[in-house]
């Protein structure tokens, strides 16, 4: 059947040339990526990983909007130096609700996969306003508008619904809510309920007081809430290290 397929066809038809080129260069990716969808050990079975709360999720949106990922990775690789500096290596399971994941490959700044809980909220606020004021050698730009810009909370439910279509278990009805209670416990399940998204978002910002001002919800509140949860969901003291070895 290939007898009549001559290379002149590709060399004289740019349309076919584009299609054939795309096919050829996709092979490498397909061979490397697609088996991971079938290998049963790709995702580690570890407790604690949950979808982001509405506030954390909006903080993640701001993280993306400001392009934090262009300088910060979120992937502690299984190397000794990284483990000593950043903490336990990242698990695939820890980004299973990230769409898209923020692993990244460029580290102008440090890795942020385990930054949650490492610094106080106050440090994050001061650092985001003017990084050089706390880290004199930093080359990170200032983000002063985060503190003065109120967080747009109107579409948080719609954003969660969009994530739900990609497989993140936010609940849109009572049946899904019940399943989340079984899976994550009632406290977490409540924060994943889309109809209560705005209410939950404001409550978490008030309670956490991330930006030091309870009177309003700023973009700073959301971003700091997001940073403070990074890498904190899995309790590694409850997991045997050799069990994680066997997933690879």
């Amino acid at each position: 059947m290939f007898k009549n397929l001559k290379h002149e066809i590709l060399e004289t038809n740019t349309g076919w040339l584009v299609v054939a080129t795309m096919f050829a260069i996709s092979i490498g990716g397909l061979v490397e990526i697609s088996p991971l969808f079938f290998i049963k050990d790709t995702l580690e079975d570890v407790p604690g990983v949950r979808p982001y709360t509405p506030l954390e999720s909006r903080g993640r949106d701001i993280y993306l909007r400001e392009g934090c990922y262009t300088c910060h990775s979120q992937m502690v690789r299984p190397f000794r130096d990284e483990q000593l500096r950043y903490g336990h290596y990242s698990l695939a399971a820890e980004s299973k609700y990230d769409h898209p994941f923020q692993w990244g490959s460029k580290r102008t700044g440090p890795d942020l996969a385990r930054v949650g809980g490492k610094y106080s909220n106050e440090w994050h606020v001061q650092h985001l306003l003017r990084p050089k004021s706390v880290v004199p050698e930093s080359v990170m730009p200032n983000y002063p508008w985060l503190l003065t810009t109120p967080l747009d909370v109107s579409d948080v439910g719609a954003r969660m619904r969009a994530l739900r279509t990609t497989g993140v278990p936010y609940s849109a009805n009572q049946e899904e809510y019940r399943r989340n209670v079984e899976k994550f416990g009632e406290q977490v399940a409540r924060t994943l309920h889309i109809p209560d998204a705005q209410k939950n978002l404001v409550a978490q910002a008030q309670d956490g007081n991330y930006d030091g001002d309870r009177s309003s919800v700023s973009e700073m509140d959301a971003l700091v809430a997001y940073l403070q949860v990074l890498g904190t969901m899995v309790d590694f003291s409850k997991i045997k290290p050799e069990d994680l070895v066997k997933y690879r």
């Binding site: 002149e8 088996p35 079938f38 290998i39 049963k40 050990d41 690789r77 299984p78 190397f79 000794r80 483990q83 000593l84 500096r85 903490g87 290596y89 809980g117 490492k118 610094y119 106080s120 909220n121 106050e122 440090w123 001061q126 650092h127 004021s133 706390v134 880290v135 004199p136 007081n209 030091g212 003291s237 045997k240 290290p241 050799e242 994680l244 070895v245 066997k246 997933y247 690879r248």
Partner: protein, 308 residues
């Protein structure tokens, strides 16, 4: 035009036989032999690699490869698994720990006072502590431990909010701290707050208006402002609750050293009294750091200059 005539020198060269626009031909020059052999070698390398390391996916698993690694599991038993980066890391961490183990064993077994007198162990603490401090503490307390006025306490002086003994420093690192002072903007009048600021600055040796300072003194020890509840009768603070010593010249929250004159100093102190403080949060490091790292940092911080 020279461009339009066929290249005479290469007229006899091999071509692919493709001709475009009547005379545009494609030469078929064979690849150099070193390149061809390079290709064969990389193919052979790939075959060997597939056999040794985890490679081809098969159904729900993959070929694990022949190479293995042995490490100690959490029950203390030797365990062998096919080569992978996680097993390799586990092995490397255990090997490097084995090199440092004599030091860490001694560190954990000996009391603080003996460690700082042991020259070998204290040089280990200084070198290992420096890295741990840079990775975990320097973002707030700065690389030399000097802190940041208005935000993070100086660890190199002998003024301690929660105590500068080994045990207190250990407690601070392990469990974290949360400084709090209520705001007085609504409870006190502007005049009262001003009097208190005069009194507090007079305690630090500044020559303030004596009448106002005296009024502030009375207020400080009254149940209206009740400053003495937390800062103590002598205004020297209470380390059990982390209230600041107001009678020395060390400042953390109010930018008194940065103010050029009395007006600036008063404004800085008034601001703290008015707004209170709900910052001064130090994260808890228990869980994030290992017990031996916390002990290491305790000694390192103690030895920065101000330990008691």
């Amino acid at each position: 035009m020279a461009e339009n005539t066929p290249n005479q020198a290469s007229a006899g060269a091999q071509t692919t036989g493709h001709v475009w626009d009547g005379d545009l031909q494609e030469y078929n020059n064979p690849l150099p032999m070193w390149w061809i052999w390079g290709l064969y070698v990389t193919i052979a390398f790939a075959l060997i690699y597939w056999v040794i390391y985890p490679s081809w996916p098969i159904g729900k698993g993959f070929l694990p490869g022949l190479n293995t690694l042995t490490y100690t599991n959490s029950e203390g038993q030797e365990e062998t698994w096919h080569w992978n980066t996680r097993a390799k890391l586990m092995r490397e961490m255990q090997d490097s720990l084995a090199a440092q183990k004599p030091y860490y064993d001694k560190l954990m077994a000996m009391p603080y006072a003996a460690i700082v007198k042991d020259p070998e162990l204290s040089s280990f603490v200084i070198s290992a502590g420096k890295t741990a401090f840079a990775d975990n503490c320097a973002a707030c307390h700065q690389s030399g431990g000097g802190g940041k006025l208005g935000f993070f306490p100086n660890l190199t002086d002998d003024d301690w909010l929660y105590g500068g003994t080994f045990d207190k420093i250990h407690e601070t690192i392990s469990r974290g701290r949360h400084g709090y002072m209520p705001p007085f903007a609504e409870a006190l009048s502007a005049e009262q707050i001003d009097a208190l600021a005069h009194y507090v600055l007079s305690l630090s040796g500044f020559n303030m208006d004596a009448a106002k300072a005296a009024k502030g003194n009375a207020l400080f020890h009254s149940h209206t402002a009740a400053c003495f509840y937390c800062h103590g009768d002598d205004a020297r603070g209470r380390q059990d609750i982390g209230s600041a010593n107001l009678a020395d010249k060390v400042w953390l929250w109010a930018d008194v050293p940065g103010a050029g004159d009395d007006a600036g100093r008063l404004a800085a102190v008034r601001q703290v009294i008015r707004g209170g403080l709900n910052r001064g949060v130090m994260p808890a490091w228990e869980g994030r750091l290992k017990p031996e790292q916390i002990k290491l940092l305790t000694i390192y911080v103690h030895e920065l200059g101000g330990g008691r």
